[in-house]
Symmetry: C2
Subunit: 487 residues, 2 copies
């Protein structure tokens, strides 16, 4: 029980000094477990996943919460079991999501963040992290191209929330009275985004009381880009109905095709009709770090707000999503509630560093340190090299598939480090799910699939994992063929 109490941080109840050498030792042997897992995760001989169905997995360990404390042995067994059945997201053959890979500096930074265990709401309790957020947001705004990096921004819990913030700001900018009086005080608002945009735009509209029917989906061309003429047509149409267009969300790197909406043409439309222009660059925003590829976002500097998730193509550990805003002061005015227990106005330091009232969150996790430390370690050129490499791998895959027997490119944009393709088959909508299920059961690799519009299930191969190589791309195609040969 002494050992247990000590490990569990309960020792403070019995002794004023904690932690002691014993606890240090416990933590270090725990780190050994993590190090072994990391080394294993990068090993191609290891499975990406040791898959079990939910009901099986529930029975593979005792996961229940008890009244009594577990033994130290049980705790270590639980940790080992958790890691055994976890997805190895660092594995060079894990391609399943837009966020893959594990950067060692990012990991170290996240461990430091956990150890510092503080909250971003005030300079008072997070002085360094608040400054690093300030420095990093300014740098990101400079890269977007806003003059002298001016503007505002915040790190939020994911791209969906960043996009929702943008919509909230656009509404407030046009109708500041909505904060006090609600939607009943404003005319019927309408937002516009492409039919290939991320679902978070509609989700945000539902939450904000705008309603999903007020999100008008603009047609895309054959390469998945929003058609600016259709945008203009729908804006005019909405105005004729007496609705008020307030928000256009262009996408830089769509989720399924990786397409980039034409930002310059869209910004012209937005300017003409005085509508807030948002760029959802959750996935593609990171291309701004690459001199070779940033042209795909030409016009991003004309946006009023930009979502950019370093936890995707820049491989910063989850979560790390930024919303950048061109107008200073707007976030504060839109969201502030002046809580007097937190944002005291008679504090002894410069209150502009108490950023918490800009957010919808009260407590806010420190997401900045991972990005900041990786940026220091790699430099902008390091991120650039990493991103350029992902695009090279994507081009390699493209060249491999485009003339290959038995495959069809669903979309061959080659603009983002991801490609969509499908193996030919009679029962083509069933093929991808079956191959995917087999991938997971064998545990050899993971890649995502989905339908889109009238196109049945196809694979969406995302390359954001810095550990992936040309050989891993070769392996993926061979594995798809092996797993699907009887289909």
């Amino acid at each position: 029980p002494v050992l247990y109490a000590s490990l569990c941080g309960m020792k403070a109840l019995f002794s004023p000094l904690l932690p002691d050498t014993y606890i240090t030792k416990c933590l270090l042997s725990f780190v050994d477990i993590l190090m072994a897992y990391i080394v294993e995760s990068f090993d191609r001989e290891t499975k990406v996943i040791d898959f079990h169905y939910p009901n099986e997995l529930l029975q593979m360990n005792n996961w229940e919460l008890q009244d009594e404390p577990a033994t130290l042995d049980d705790i270590l067994i639980s940790c080992r079991a958790t890691l055994k059945y976890a997805i190895k997201t660092a594995h060079p053959r894990y391609f399943n999501q837009l966020s893959t890979g594990l950067d060692m500096v990012g990991l170290a930074a996240d461990w430091l963040t956990s150890t510092a265990n503080t909250n971003m709401f005030t300079y008072e309790v997070a002085p360094v992290f608040v400054l690093l957020e300030y420095v990093s947001l300014k740098k990101m705004r400079e890269i977007i191209g806003w003059q002298d990096g001016r503007g505002d921004g915040i790190f939020s819990p994911g791209g969906a929330i960043s996009n929702m913030y943008a919509m909230l700001l656009a509404r407030f900018k046009m109708f500041p009275e909505v904060k006090e009086k609600g939607m009943s005080s404003v005319p019927r608002l309408v937002a516009f985004t492409s039919e290939h945009s991320h679902f978070s735009i509609k989700k945000g509209a539902a939450a904000l009381g705008i309603g999903t029917e007020s999100v008008i989906c603009i047609k895309v061309d054959e390469s998945g880009k929003m058609i600016p003429a259709d945008l203009e047509r729908r804006i005019v149409e909405a105005k004729q109905k007496g609705f008020v267009p307030f928000f256009v969300s262009a996408t830089a790197g769509t989720t399924v095709y990786g397409a980039f909406d034409p930002l310059i043409a869209i910004s012209d439309v937005c300017k003409k009709y005085n509508v807030w222009m948002h760029v959802d660059g959750a996935w593609g925003g990171s291309l701004l770090m690459s001199r070779r590829h940033r042209w795909k976002l030409d016009g991003v500097d004309r946006a009023n707000s930009v979502t950019w998730n370093p936890h995707k193509m820049m491989s910063v550990p989850l979560q790390c999503s930024a919303l950048l805003v061109r107008e200073e002061g707007l976030m504060q005015n839109c969201n502030q509630m002046h809580a007097c227990y937190l944002f005291q106005q008679d504090k002894h330091y410069d209150l502009s560093y108490d950023t918490g009232d800009k957010a919808l969150q009260c407590g806010r996790h420190v997401d900045i340190f991972k990005l900041w430390l990786m940026w220091r370690a790699k430099g902008t050129i390091g991120f650039e090299a990493q991103i350029d490499k992902c695009l090279e791998l994507s081009e390699y895959l493209y060249n491999k598939i485009k003339d290959r027997e038995g495959y069809e490119m669903v979309f061959d944009g080659k603009v983002c480090p991801h490609l969509t393709f499908t193996p030919h088959a009679d029962n083509s909508s069933a093929v991808a799910p079956v191959i995917k299920a087999r991938m997971m059961e064998y545990g050899t690799t993971m890649v995502s699939y989905q339908p889109q519009g009238d196109k049945v299930n196809f694979f969406r191969m995302v390359i954001s994992n810095p550990a992936a190589t040309f050989e891993d791309i070769d392996f993926l195609i061979e594995e798809i063929e092996r797993l699907g040969q009887d289909l």
Copy 2:
């Protein structure tokens, strides 16, 4: 450059195997820095904070982001600087926020979470963590008292977001068409909460398009509790005006006084007028773990939803906030958008474990493992002992202050482990800020202050730090007297 590239996870660009022994060594020496910081943080001889004003701190290290990679030395210097100027939130004399302390098992669990680096949206990519969330939410619902732990819930990025979810669900429950049609399709909605409730209720109402003026603040009695008769009066009044009361947020543990609204009486009013009853137990919800103190939340089982933040009184590392919901299926219906790239309906496993579409977030950080592992390690009785101890310390402080020369209890509820009091002085509103500024400059302790209504600045002493002892309480009072003796 080889060393640098290796440490920075860039080695993957040059070599297929990563990480190697060198990286392992780098990470381990990094862990040594963290261990030294942890040991120092628990040492009372160490300062809680090495305070510098923002402009000074900006100059104490080179924090800028560069094009070129930094050296390994620079990275380690940056980490040491970050820790040097960070708040030692684990310090036994850090009382500044509702979240204090550092639990070693929680920390280990957070390191494992970072290492697993995955996303809660699907079982596919977070099988174990999704199951642990399921197990833990069910356990929390059992503790609330819902039959067989039935219901729903989610871990969200903080109590403010959990509260906003509750309001969103209440609105959707009453007017499901609001999701598609927005607020223009529904009558004028009004929400009710006490004048001492957390600012996130108004913030949520502003975001959701309800508007802050539609949040009606109910009077509190002299102990800071919502007056149910006033709630009923205001509901009737709103109905007479043609408004639709849809949401009551009762608070279990108010932010400033730590008061508990009378949940049974409030639930009677909610039932009578068919209004959603939410309990914001972000701070006080953890008392449900204590057999001695859970009576303060009597009636919580009648709520439709409950916010409960284990990152506060249970000392789980930040962030860990749960929203518990009595009705099953409602969250899914309210928030789902059926993204076909993520929530494919033809997957090979039980899709009820793909919980992502219940959330407003798309990507969602794994917040559950810290709570789950600590719960395993301590057992329910371990959390109970920890919480009871905080209340004991609070009572000790109460007894110390109540008859002490020169102090006044602002509120003597003794129901939560926090107390508000003020040292007597002529210029009383200026005293607390000056003492607080001196605390930070000396770095000896940290405690929060604020005004409330007609009461000028007073100290709010929060005890959630498991490392704090009776001696630390003595120290705090002596320190306040030392720092304020000339005022």
